[in-house]
Assembly symmetry: D2
Homo-oligomer: 264 residues x 4
Amino acid sequence: DRPFVLIAGPCQLESRDHAFAMAGALSELTKKLGIGLIYKTSFDKANRTSVSAQRGLGMDQSLPILADIRATFGCPVLTDIHTAEQCAPVAEVVDVLQIPAFLCRQTDLLLAAGETGKPINLKKGQFLAPWDMKNVAAKIVSTGNHNILLCERGASFGYNTLVSDMRSLPIMAQTGYPVVYDATHSVQQPGGQGTSSGGQREFVPVLARAAIAIGVAAVFMETHENPDCAPSDGPNMVPLDQMEGVLGTLLALDRIAKANPVVM
Amino acid sequence: DRPFVLIAGPCQLESRDHAFAMAGALSELTKKLGIGLIYKTSFDKANRTSVSAQRGLGMDQSLPILADIRATFGCPVLTDIHTAEQCAPVAEVVDVLQIPAFLCRQTDLLLAAGETGKPINLKKGQFLAPWDMKNVAAKIVSTGNHNILLCERGASFGYNTLVSDMRSLPIMAQTGYPVVYDATHSVQQPGGQGTSSGGQREFVPVLARAAIAIGVAAVFMETHENPDCAPSDGPNMVPLDQMEGVLGTLLALDRIAKANPVVM
Amino acid sequence: DRPFVLIAGPCQLESRDHAFAMAGALSELTKKLGIGLIYKTSFDKANRTSVSAQRGLGMDQSLPILADIRATFGCPVLTDIHTAEQCAPVAEVVDVLQIPAFLCRQTDLLLAAGETGKPINLKKGQFLAPWDMKNVAAKIVSTGNHNILLCERGASFGYNTLVSDMRSLPIMAQTGYPVVYDATHSVQQPGGQGTSSGGQREFVPVLARAAIAIGVAAVFMETHENPDCAPSDGPNMVPLDQMEGVLGTLLALDRIAKANPVVM
Amino acid sequence: DRPFVLIAGPCQLESRDHAFAMAGALSELTKKLGIGLIYKTSFDKANRTSVSAQRGLGMDQSLPILADIRATFGCPVLTDIHTAEQCAPVAEVVDVLQIPAFLCRQTDLLLAAGETGKPINLKKGQFLAPWDMKNVAAKIVSTGNHNILLCERGASFGYNTLVSDMRSLPIMAQTGYPVVYDATHSVQQPGGQGTSSGGQREFVPVLARAAIAIGVAAVFMETHENPDCAPSDGPNMVPLDQMEGVLGTLLALDRIAKANPVVM
């Protein structure tokens, strides 16, 4: 029944200075609004559309920055991992490990993530039905780890398009695990710009409102002070200066939703 | 900025007594909640999955009943028409003519409906993109009639399944016409029971919450005092005794949504 | 085990002269190739994307032309009907009545068509699963008419796109009715050009080859001597002068397919 | 213009004896039919639906078996790899490395595979448009390796269902790389049996016929002497004793298709 948590940050860890600026701004904003923040950023964009797209700073340079952000702002930190080997070292620094959607069926990665004992944010594959996420969760559970988040981020709908089937939120909630709605990647247009993915930033607040009104534990929403210049997911990040307005409405809707939980 | 209007009633006009009982209950409920009611019921189910399924009382028997409901309860009445010939006689009695989704591209039907001058609720075809509804509306506009509602009721998603793409609500709103969300037919499973359509009643309040939180002019929600015994759409009608609870939450969400309109 | 029949002609009956020229050319070509021809053309495009698009000559002007083509070239004639009232007069002239895909669930239209006793080509709706066509056929059968063809013409796949699920051919064949593959409308991009449908003419021969190799009774392929100037479906009609090459390959594949029927 | 190559074998390497029996039977059959064979089998099923499903013998046990099959039967061998580290050791033994569909966007895996210099069979992700495979291929090409095969294996179509869009074959062929049609996984029903994937074995020959008639360089078709007892993909493997009949028809269709190439 608590207010939703915001999972936010720039898609990619661009530099120590940029990460600190973003974390500082988000930390201040969420304190002002009275909601929890999990700072999200990626050290490696491991599945870019194009081989020539920028991948990020890498694990070795990024982990100390994430550790410092955590220490400085006192907020939990989330990042995504791409190989089984990354799980243990990343888990020493971050609070939540995230499994990318394309990798949500890779058993070894799931087991390695589970074995860290850390909370795991499981992105639902674009190719997966919501009821099939129980099998994904069971792989984590098999390691003895029950700290699981299930995350909707859109389902394949024809080519170069995703659709958010909002029924997936209560369906996944029936597992008992908290459900996250990733409003950023749900508006991605995979491969939609030829050699990079497009996005529909204008629908992020729209779909986030829908998810919040149904009732979710957390909203995932990437942001950037200048999305059009961001090295990845620019088309679907919310400009930082619009976040307060968006979150204000979400908070008001969240109170109604939490007071009137959906019964399935 | 006004509260959403409820378009509701039993899927099928079963009898004068049943229609009066349902209209009476819904009229009382919506007065209590302070929202507008448009009473919806069909005189003919013209596109049943099976030829042996019950079609309804027919136009001649039904129009006087609709007229009496209108006079007795003082609420506008909506029904769907299936041929160009039905438009004029039906328009003499009802307040809103509805174009069924399968028929939303039939030019002659649209022109005949438009020519009545009545408000027209245009259901978006399961096979149509939201941006293509402007072409459907233009057929009505060509008759000089600008009283148009655009209604989302789910898009084809694989076989026997619909998905509600909530982006369609603000996309259709960009036409300037009021947007309706049909929560009943959006949870239909077309042909899902072999010789009849299935449905997922439990998702009606879920998807209605999502649509309301984005902002719609009206919610369409069929109801029945005993859906499991209804002659059509039973699997996706909300039991009458649950309507107050569902609408109460929708109203609270609607106030937030209307105070914070989505900007596109 | 007989060779496939070709259902072909220009999408729209443009004029007596044009219809005769097309029918003459197709009649000659199919005689040369030793395959049957059913001449197809529409007297009314009743569901154009845009209200300002050209609809055709209309029933009254068209029926005598169809009758004359039939008499002159000795080939059966097929056209589509859009209302129950059109069925009887059209059936006096044509050999096969066609139910448009959008209308494949309209019970009265199906019953009126069935009652003519004529063969009925049932287009599968873009929103329908192949196994649901048995319910559509049952509406025709309820009139005592068993002369039924089931026609695949693409299923909704995201927005503005259709996909041909080739599994539908043997699934529909399990009803015992002959199966037709409509290669023209399967490559339509509904609403894909803003105020008209687009199409991918280059894929007509591709998908026709696939369907023929599986085994179908007939291929539906619209053609025009100058598709880019045709009043409708231009983007997906095959230029007349390419038909011979396309059909030659289909005939060779058909022989193999018919000698090795798919067993389900 | 050469006949299609068959990529076949049991889904999973079950044991040395089983692998030899299958390779022997397929080698004999393809010699009799005059077509090339690439023996396919997996040493690890790394993305099973359920954590308790059988994964296979593992890389260390399997590579010597694959080497011996290659030596004994003189046929090239193909297997799939799941991590960048596996690429080099596997490439020492096998002739073709295969990238699993879920992993087709993982840049490091693609680069490691490319760097082996071996031919790479790139499965198209269920979430990817055919025109987006050029970006996947470009990652391999960036390593200087141009030995690329592009493989269609179905696209997401609603939940728990794939559809084969046969247009993808000529679209992918426009890259200039040989195109493979995987008839086995295209009929998978992902997660369709609750804790395992279902399949529709009866459609393997159907869809293979369609692909061959359009024109492909190779057909991928898993087989087993007793599919119902196979540890994985049983529902979509063709029984070994039916392979000759299936391949015979495909060969006849292939001759027609190769003599009449699709022009795009």
